[in-house]
């Protein structure tokens, strides 16, 4: 118990004291809100990871899209058709692409287990190399390195619409039974998802591009919205540590909701003159210099 207090109350407080009261000017000015938020979120996540590691049961709400992933691969196997995985059109400097590749590892594991054919057309060469390694490791981990083919992951083109045309061609010619769109997408999202819809494939999408979510919701069977996309890999891994991380994330979300309501109420009271303090000034977004 004492250790917990030290770890989750004493250490963050010490860091905050150090950050705000250190006599030398070693910290950038203007990033205080960001620093405090990140510190708070990281320690909250760590707290729930610690709880999960100590064997506490963690309930995770079921996410339909994640549950459907295995069903989609199973369906493709039964139909004798390939599984198509599209990891978006961005490079590895985007967290969405990294998340997409992590999910690819899990999907490749499923295709290795079910002996289904996996096809991963890629838009960026560096993503291709990473995707190749991810798939190779997944097949090796499942004890089926013999099923891995080097042309499973291949490069198409760097251009956005040429890539969309290439992938649409693959969809129409090969008619995959399951299509995964997991990564960063832009205007090509609807072109891809509608083509997949026209051939009757089960489509599971996930992206952090908020402007593309409506298109995926319309054209795909399942969509991982917002933070679900980032939580998918942790959810699929099933390890207590990862699940604890998601739980921590959910509690922070509850905290955000309470904070929004508090700020709203205080702002209303401030505008009517009941309190003389503009709380929203505390949360002004600072620009990192």
């Amino acid at each position: 118990m004492m250790n917990k207090y030290i770890k989750f109350i004493f250490i963050p407080s010490l860091i905050l004291l150090f950050y705000f009261f250190f006599p030398l000017q070693i910290f950038l000015i203007g990033n205080e809100t960001t620093f405090v938020s990140i510190l708070f979120i990281c320690f909250a996540i760590e707290y729930f990871i610690d709880k999960a590691r100590n064997g506490e049961q963690i309930y995770m709400r079921p996410i339909a899209a994640i549950k459907a992933m295995e069903e989609a691969v199973g369906r493709a196997t039964e139909m004798g058709k390939p599984v198509l995985y599209v990891p978006g059109i961005s490079s590895l400097d985007q967290i969405d692409t990294i998340s997409g590749l992590i999910i690819l590892g899990h999907v490749a594991g499923m295709t290795a287990e079910y002996e289904a054919n996996l096809h991963v057309p890629v838009c960026v060469p560096i993503v291709m190399e990473t995707a190749k390694e991810t798939c190779k490791e997944a097949y090796l981990k499942k004890g089926r390195p013999d099923l891995y083919r080097d042309d499973m992951v291949h490069y198409v083109t760097d251009d956005q619409f040429a890539y969309a045309a290439g992938v649409n061609g693959i969809i129409l010619r090969e008619k995959p039974a399951a299509i995964f769109f997991q990564g960063k997408f832009y205007a090509e999202s609807l072109l891809l998802a509608e083509t997949g819809n026209s051939i009757g494939a089960i489509q599971i999408a996930g992206t952090g591009s908020s402007s593309q979510i409506p298109f995926f919701v319309t054209a795909c069977d399942y969509t991982l919205i917002g933070e679900e996309f980032y939580a998918a890999s942790a959810y699929l891994s099933g390890s207590p540590e990862m699940l604890g991380c998601i739980k921590g994330q959910d509690y922070i979300k509850v905290g955000c909701i309470i904070l929004i309501i508090t700020v709203f109420m205080c702002s209303v009271l401030n505008s009517y003159g009941y309190i003389n303090f503009d709380i929203s000034s505390l949360f002004r977004i600072s620009v990192i210099k």
């Binding site: 979120i41 997944a138 490069y155 198409v156 509608e194 319309t218 917002g226 933070e227 990862m242």
Partner: protein, 267 residues
């Protein structure tokens, strides 16, 4: 050992980059702002060669083994070779090789502007048709949410075209009454009762609005109403998603830089 080095690099560079956003130390700030991104560009540049080799290998194999749809691969290979020739060997203009890529008279420029760009524009234009087919599916009245989507969609479409400004207040009111009765229709046991109630409301409500002099309210002006839909409910929904995305990004990054998320390294 090889994997441990990879973990170490991920954790070390991850924390270094994070610290660089908060610590005022010019060499560190310079590293994360300039050097690290340049390193990434250099590695990506080398990876481009791997991409090209992969593309050639794949399509040459397809043609050589006459695998299914191998004829399409011939087009890819021919296009690839033609652009290589116009980029590196044949110029077609008076300027030197290199700058000729942006010179209007060069063969490469002609190919790019007359074949490549129109093809890209064609793909982009296809979006209009896909939006129409996707909207048709989304707007089908299946449940309450789909009905709300349809109603909002109609108001947005009418409000954003010039004819929307010509719709008088009473017509907007009648539209609202129709929509209200469309939603509550299932509550009426008899169709006649519903019809009489609707006609009664359609006559009584405009008189009531006139009596209280409320015809200037923004809700009766479709362009203003659609602005409100975009500014309030749509923005609220998208911000909720964005908060979720931001939290997810932080949690995912935290898992990666603390070495817990190892799937990307094959664990």
């Amino acid at each position: 050992m090889k994997r441990k080095i990879a973990y170490f690099l991920v954790v070390f560079i991850g924390f270094l980059t994070l610290l660089g956003h908060f610590i005022s130390y010019p060499p560190l700030n310079n590293f994360i702002d300039n050097d690290a991104t340049q390193w990434f560009d250099i590695i990506s540049g080398f990876a481009a060669f791997l991409g090209v080799i992969n593309l050639l290998q794949l399509h040459l194999n397809k043609v050589a083994n006459k695998r299914s749809n191998w004829k399409f691969s011939i087009f890819t290979l021919v296009s690839f070779i033609v652009m290589i020739i116009f980029g590196f060997i044949y110029n077609g203009s008076n300027v030197a090789m290199g700058p000729h890529l942006k010179e209007e008279g060069s063969a490469f420029y002609w190919m790019f502007h007359n074949i490549y760009l129109p093809l890209g524009a064609t793909m982009f234009a296809l979006l209009a048709f896909f939006v129409a087919s996707a909207s048709y599916r989304a707007f089908k009245i299946r449940n309450f949410e789909a009905t709300l989507l349809l109603i909002s969609g109609i108001f947005l479409m009418i409000g954003r075209v010039p004819i929307g400004q010509l719709v008088p207040w009473w017509m907007s009111l009648e539209i609202y009454i129709f929509l209200l009765f469309a939603i509550i229709a299932s509550r009426f046991k008899e169709k006649k009762t519903m019809l009489y109630s609707m006609i009664g409301t359609m006559i009584f409500m405009p008189l009531l609005i006139l009596f209280f002099n409320l015809s200037d309210l923004g809700i009766f002006k479709i362009p203003e109403f659609q602005e409100w839909i975009m500014a309030v409910p749509a923005t609220a929904g998208s911000r909720a998603i964005m908060i979720g995305i931001a939290l997810g990004t932080i949690a995912q990054s935290y898992r990666i830089i603390t070495g817990r998320e190892r799937s990307i390294l094959g664990d």
